[in-house]
């Protein structure tokens, strides 16, 4: 009984081997192929944003790769990090073994990006982040890490300043989603509120996605001038909708996680007139963005997600750096270190949503922050949202 399983086991193993073998013996590097990997959650609850990142990068490669990078075929290799740190690290270790991969665009979650970038750093593989706003991402001072988005600390500060000085808000209730991103922004908003003459009535986190009644009841009873939500639109939309339904009259505000056409779809009238801060300029400001939205819709039959344009820009910067590195290497395939250095040397790059230069840590310098007001509950009019204020802010030096 026990013995008879050896042949079976071996047969199964051989079968698996036979199935996977033919396509999978790329022993050495391919001469004329360069691969760009994306890492983001492609399955699970956060996959909308994660797939948005992958699709943005894919669109960029379709449109730009052949134009910018000559002599090589550029391919995208999508990895699903499942929003889990251990999977992200395993993928990172997996993809560094492929010598053709010279660049990573990712991740969505700072919690995954931080341990994974340790691996990239050990292998000199450049990572350009389209979404991670956690200060720790760049504050570790890794040369391989670059991001095209702003930092939670600055965004919270911009929001608080605008609320206090421009909107003359006197009191605020802050709610966040208990993620590194949402809580990060919310904390910096809280810390900067008193300096701008705003009293913080409450500061609360919640992992709740559907039923905000129990949180909203005490908020309503305190009658704040503004509610600030640190989080992403899918949760914020429901929250704001229920808040208005409860008769709460406060102003609403949030960070760049609000920037999605799904927000009006979910929240309807509730969010008309609310403000959000963002590092992605509106289409009117960056004409490239309007074309991007149209192209994205043409290819994927849906609107881009919040970090899709940033993923496009990350990939675009990566391609430009690749081209520079190839040129510097005399037309040969560059090393990862050369690509990493080329990324850091990008100056004044005009992307879809901003003009990028980077400081020594990899933060955009100066980062441009916009305050935007939502004008309509019609998702189709999302592009017409009003640009209220533009701020150019130098990223802070790393805290030690």
């Amino acid at each position: 009984m026990k013995r008879s399983r050896i042949p079976v086991t071996l047969a199964v193993l051989a079968l698996v081997a036979a199935l996977l073998l033919p396509d999978n013996v790329p022993v050495s590097a391919q001469q004329n192929v360069i691969k760009i990997a994306t890492q983001s959650p492609l399955s699970g609850g956060q996959s909308t944003l994660g797939v948005g990142i992958k699709d943005g990068a894919q669109l960029c490669i379709d449109q730009q790769a052949a134009r910018i990078v000559t002599g090589f075929r550029v391919q995208l290799v999508p990895f699903d990090d499942q929003a889990k740190p251990d999977v992200g690290v395993a993928n990172a270790k997996n993809l560094v073994t492929d010598p053709d991969i010279l660049l990573v665009v990712g991740h969505l979650n700072s919690g995954v990006a931080i341990p994974s970038s340790e691996v990239y750093n050990d292998n000199n593989l450049a990572m350009i982040s389209p979404a991670n706003t956690n200060p720790l991402i760049t504050d570790r001072g890794y040369r391989v890490v670059t991001r095209v988005v702003g930092r939670d600390d600055v965004q919270g500060q911009v929001g608080a300043e605008f609320a206090g000085k421009d909107l003359k808000v006197k009191s605020v209730y802050i709610v966040h989603d208990k993620t590194a991103y949402g809580q990060g922004v919310a904390e910096f908003f809280r810390d900067n509120a008193p300096k701008n003459g705003i009293q913080v009535l409450g500061f609360e986190g919640t992992e709740e996605k559907a039923n905000f009644d129990p949180i909203l009841t005490p908020i309503g009873a305190r009658n704040p001038g503004m509610i600030y939500f640190g989080g992403i639109y899918d949760q914020a939309g429901v929250f704001f909708k229920q808040a208005r339904a409860k008769g709460i009259k406060a102003l609403f505000m949030g960070p760049d996680g609000m920037d999605s056409t799904d927000l009006p779809k979910i929240a309807g009238q509730a969010i008309v007139g609310m403000h959000y801060t963002t590092v992605a300029g509106p289409p009117a400001f960056y004409p490239g963005a309007a074309k991007f939205i149209a192209d994205f819709k043409a290819k994927y039959k849906r609107d881009p997600e919040p970090f899709s344009a940033q993923a496009y820009d990350s990939c675009w910067i990566g391609l430009t750096a690749l081209a520079n590195a190839i040129k510097a290497a005399g037309g040969k395939k560059p090393t990862r270190l050369q690509v990493t250095n080329a990324v850091r040397n990008i100056k004044g790059f005009k992307g879809l949503t901003a003009t990028y230069s980077f400081d020594a840590k990899g933060d955009p310098d100066p980062a441009v922050y916009f305050v935007i007001q939502i004008v309509s509950s019609d998702p189709a009019k999302w592009g017409q949202n009003k640009l209220i204020k533009t701020l150019r802010i130098k990223p802070p030096a790393a805290k030690k």
Partner: protein
């Protein structure tokens, strides 16, 4: 500390807690029915709940696209949405049982549990796949129906939305109906007999497989109704929505005494109230040191406490040990 706020919001929190509690209660019914008959945790029930929510949303969205939404009065609309959600979810539950659980009858208890987890993973992504192909989006938003969003003022500081009231009314109707069905009808008796002893029930000429399918059908329909009501109540759904309510509802079922129908209802309402009060009052009572984020800790601690003193749940009877 702000005592006046504390007292002022009390009735409102109570109302909201009861509403939430009935959502849990409806989902908990699916767990408790299946558990009562098969002694297995139907882990895929949360996806069956989501199925109901998605079908409900699709019905409303298709009506909206065709312009029929405005012309149908609110109550028939609700009936249509509920019926569609219940039919789809009930059918799915029966299919899942047939494919993934029936072949495992007689295996140790944990085996169907793992199968259920597999089904749950599969269904989540299957729903996502279908919706992505069909609508190119899998976060769906329920269209707003003005009638349900109206709020009725109970007293000066307390109001309740029509949809919450509807939810509570539908839940109570279903719970009572189900209790009567299981307790009074012949089919209900057969189900109870199967739950008691499958082999003997079989010998008595009861179609055991049929009764088990029926159990899944009813549990699934309750889950589907809960899904559609959940969608109307809270607005947005995605294929992974079911996970948290699923865990909570399962907790509620255990809290009330698993396998027990009134227990599921009581457990749901108790859990809903615990959660609501914790979320509303934690921050006030602790002066901001602990906030709403601790509500689950509070709810689960209470659960542990209750189970320490009543190890069979609130209404669970002391069953004989299976020896």
């Amino acid at each position: 500390m702000e005592w006046d706020i504390l007292i002022r919001i009390f009735p409102q929190v109570l109302v909201d807690g009861v509403t939430l509690g009935f959502v849990y209660a409806l989902i908990a019914l699916g767990y408790t029915m299946v558990y009562g008959v098969l002694e297995m945790i139907n882990f895929a029930h949360s996806e069956i709940f989501v199925m109901g929510a998605f079908v409900g949303a699709e019905v409303l969205l298709i009506m909206q696209a065709s312009g029929a939404l405005g012309s149908i009065p609110a109550l028939p609309l609700l009936v249509i949405v509920l019926a569609a959600g219940m039919a789809a979810a009930g059918g799915l539950a029966v299919a899942v049982e047939r494919v993934a659980y029936r072949p495992l009858r007689g295996a140790p208890r944990l085996v169907p549990l793992i199968s259920a987890i597999g089904v749950s993973f599969f269904l989540q992504d299957a729903i996502r796949l279908t919706e992505s192909l069909w609508r190119n989006a899998f976060f769906l938003t329920y269209p707003t129906i003005a009638f349900f969003d109206e709020r009725i003022r109970l007293v000066a500081t307390v109001d309740i939305s029509v949809k919450s009231l509807t939810l509570i009314a539908v839940s109570i109707l279903m719970l009572v109906g189900l209790s009567l069905f299981v307790g009074r009808t012949k089919l209900g008796k057969a189900i109870r007999a199967v739950a008691e002893d499958q082999a003997t029930a079989g010998l008595m000429g009861i179609n055991v497989n049929g009764m088990i399918s029926l159990t899944f059908l009813i549990g699934g329909m309750m889950g589907g109704a809960a899904g559609a009501l959940f969608g109307v109540q809270y607005g947005t759904i995605n294929p992974y929505t079911g996970f948290i309510p699923g865990i909570k509802a399962f907790t509620a079922a255990v809290l009330g005494g698993i396998g027990n129908i009134p227990g599921a209802m009581l457990g749901g309402v108790v859990l809903g109230l615990l959660e609501s009060f914790a979320a509303s009052y934690m921050s006030l009572l602790s002066g901001g040191a602990f906030g709403a984020e601790y509500k689950d800790i509070f709810a689960f601690s209470m659960l542990i406490l209750i189970l320490i003193f009543r190890p069979r749940g609130l209404l669970g009877e002391v069953v004989r040990e299976k020896l």
